[in-house]
């Protein structure tokens, strides 16, 4: 009843091409952001550290891959490695120039990842689909090899791992062992909101249309004067930028230190599944995908024993673990059958139905 288009007239092209044309949507997004910030003050540290921070980090990486695979239609399996480039670049920068604020380096490290991403995107002019995925697989293996074999990247640290030195913002530790989950959550949340907003601006403008044009019909796009190579490389660069920042956040604001193994092929697949299940070509879908794949297993781990115990069934942690895999797997298949275009499409259909509710049309 409250969700209606009626009475909202657009009198300018600016208003008509707004990203959230509906007033209710704008209010809704505002409330969600407000709630996300409020969570920092009411949530316990388990919720922030083990659920919300990783959820946001994976959402950001999914947005990155979604720009490439969802919007531009270029399949990539190098996400994990591009995240790694961001993390290692950030580590090098923050240890080489400790006086510069770490937030600056987190944003700058994305550019390194963008450059590497664009480099490995060069084959995309000639090959597409599964073949391009295989070409990006080369990036995955080559970069991971670099992470292991080049000790300079970890400042010749004997353990070969990245550690998170103490860094502060306005005197409050945000990176390092003494940074509280609360402050780290606030930093991650702010960065993710900012970058999501920028991504949304990009995909709704000229550049986004060029990306989608390349995805939907590359020959026609080229005949309209869209340069295929530049457009694809831009998608690779922007996508890798997001992945790189996500990688830096993952190591320094979530794990607090990591080894090369974090950025392996499994990570790439993990992000790809989030994108596919959330919805290719949808920013909000990236959040849905990350929630389903990352948060759902955690929720099940908590909820399942609580459901089973009243029936007198007490099961071990290992059985819970197996059940979790089975349920998540089944749900993924269920969602893909119900809506192959992902959770984002379900969300869109739901909103359209709500607009006319309680009438069918």
């Amino acid at each position: 009843m409250l969700y209606r288009e009626a009475g909202q007239f657009k009198t300018s092209y600016v208003a008509d091409s707004a990203i959230f044309p509906l007033r209710q949507d704008r209010i809704g997004i505002g409330l969600i952001i407000l709630a996300a910030y409020a969570l920092a003050f009411i949530g316990n540290s388990f919720l922030l550290q083990a659920v919300m921070i990783p959820f946001l980090v994976f959402s950001l990486a999914s947005i990155g891959l979604n720009i490439l695979t969802g919007y531009t239609g270029l399949l990539s399996l190098g996400t994990g490695a591009f995240m790694g480039v961001g993390a290692y670049a950030c580590y090098k920068l923050m240890t080489a120039f400790p006086e510069v604020n770490v937030i600056v380096w987190i944003f700058v490290s994305g550019f390194f990842s963008a450059a590497i991403g664009a480099l490995f995107g060069l084959p995309s002019l000639r090959i597409k689909g599964f073949y391009l995925a295989v070409a990006t697989l080369a990036a995955q293996f080559f970069l991971q090899w670099c992470f292991i074999r080049i000790p300079w990247l970890v400042n010749y640290n004997v353990s070969g791992a990245l550690d998170a030195p103490l860094r502060t913002l306005f005197g409050i530790p945000i990176v390092g062992a003494t940074a509280t989950p609360q402050t780290r959550y606030l930093v991650v949340l702010t960065i993710v909101i900012l970058l999501t907003w920028l991504a949304s601006n990009l995909v709704h403008g000229r550049i986004g249309r060029m990306w989608i044009a390349i995805r939907d019909m590359d020959l026609a796009a080229e005949l309209m004067g869209i340069r295929p190579l530049q457009t694809k490389l831009l998608a690779f660069a922007v996508s890798s930028y997001y992945c790189g920042v996500a990688g830096a956040l993952l190591v320094f604001l979530w794990y607090g230190g990591a080894e090369y193994d974090v950025f392996n092929i499994n990570q790439s697949f993990f992000i790809l599944f989030m994108v596919i299940i959330g919805g290719l070509g949808s920013l909000i879908g990236s959040f849905f995908g990350a929630a389903l794949i990352f948060i759902l297993p955690i929720v099940l781990g908590i909820v399942l024993p609580a459901i089973l115990s009243p029936f007198g069934i007490s099961v071990g942690a290992d059985v819970i673990e197996h059940l979790r895999f089975m349920i998540v797997g089944a749900l993924i298949i269920f969602f893909l059958i119900v809506e192959p275009h992902g959770l984002a499409r379900l969300w869109q259909i739901g909103k359209q139905k709500l607009l006319v509710w309680p009438f069918p049309y």
Partner: protein, 266 residues
């Protein structure tokens, strides 16, 4: 208005000249020694039986293929080997035999995408969707709305084109090509698969584009009625060779054309 049987058919200077063009793929000769020209502001039809090389000819003109022999001169300059996007930036737009729209985008976004080459606000402003980026967006939206009005597709402005019926998709595709404000518009079977009413609408749009904006149009079409009514001059291809060239009336009376279409008694 057009004078179909005017013997002096030249409407203006030569915009594009095809000289002795041959195109072969390995041993297959798609085009053999074809020469014709397209003059400014005329409607030029390319006809011929199936497999005559009409689409190959269009592909040469917009840079998909580069002729094996011969040359193409556009606006008085011999065309170097180029990519299709360069031809597009040079002012050649095209629609396809099988609709090649961006299916997931709305009508509006499809036509807006057609204006990509006209837009040049930089990445930084695009990131913030502000300042020059937004001004440009609005300015081009205004042009796109004019095209939408012109083609009478206001009601499907925000519909994803994948959901539209075929006839409307063809119309959106024409709109997308018009958004490029081309000097030369190539239409590959714009009426294929349409019913009479849709054909009439499409013919009207083609004539209006030609007359209002002075756009030069080269079209491939199988419906002879449409070709004879619309075009100023017709070139006829058969098995990759040019067999006739002239006004619709001349071509209609040409014995080789009649033979090509109806067959010859052996």
């Amino acid at each position: 208005m057009r004078a179909p049987d005017n013997p002096v058919f030249a409407k203006g200077d030569v915009l594009l000249a095809v000289e002795n063009v041959s195109l072969s793929f390995g041993g297959v000769k798609a085009l053999t020694d074809v020469s014709f020209d397209i003059r400014k502001s005329e409607i030029r039809a390319i006809i011929g039986p199936n497999g005559a090389g009409k689409t190959s000819m269009l592909n040469c003109i917009n840079g998909f293929y580069y002729p094996t022999e011969g040359r193409i001169t556009f606006k008085g300059v011999k065309r170097p080997k180029m990519r299709p996007y360069e031809a597009a930036r040079g002012g050649i737009a095209r629609t396809f035999q099988n609709v090649a729209l961006f299916k997931s985008m709305s009508t509006l976004d499809n036509i807006m995408a057609g204006r990509s080459i006209k837009m040049n606000s930089n990445f930084f402003w695009q990131l913030f969707r502000h300042g020059p980026a937004m001004r440009e967006e609005v300015e081009h939206r205004r042009v796109v709305e004019e095209i939408i009005d012109f083609l009478e597709i206001q009601h499907i402005r925000k519909t994803p084109v994948g959901r539209l019926p075929y006839g409307l998709q063809k119309r959106v595709e024409l709109g997308r090509a018009l958004a490029m404000e081309p000097e030369l518009l190539l239409l590959d079977e714009p009426m294929a698969g349409m019913n009479l009413e849709e054909k009439e609408d499409m013919s009207r749009f083609i004539l209006e584009v030609n007359q209002q904006y002075g756009t030069t149009i080269a079209l491939i079409e199988h419906d002879m009625g449409v070709v004879m009514d619309l075009s100023d001059r017709v070139v006829v291809l058969e098995y990759g060779r040019k067999i006739a060239d002239g006004t619709p009336a001349e071509v209609k009376g040409d014995q080789r054309v009649i033979d090509a279409y109806l067959g010859v008694a052996h």
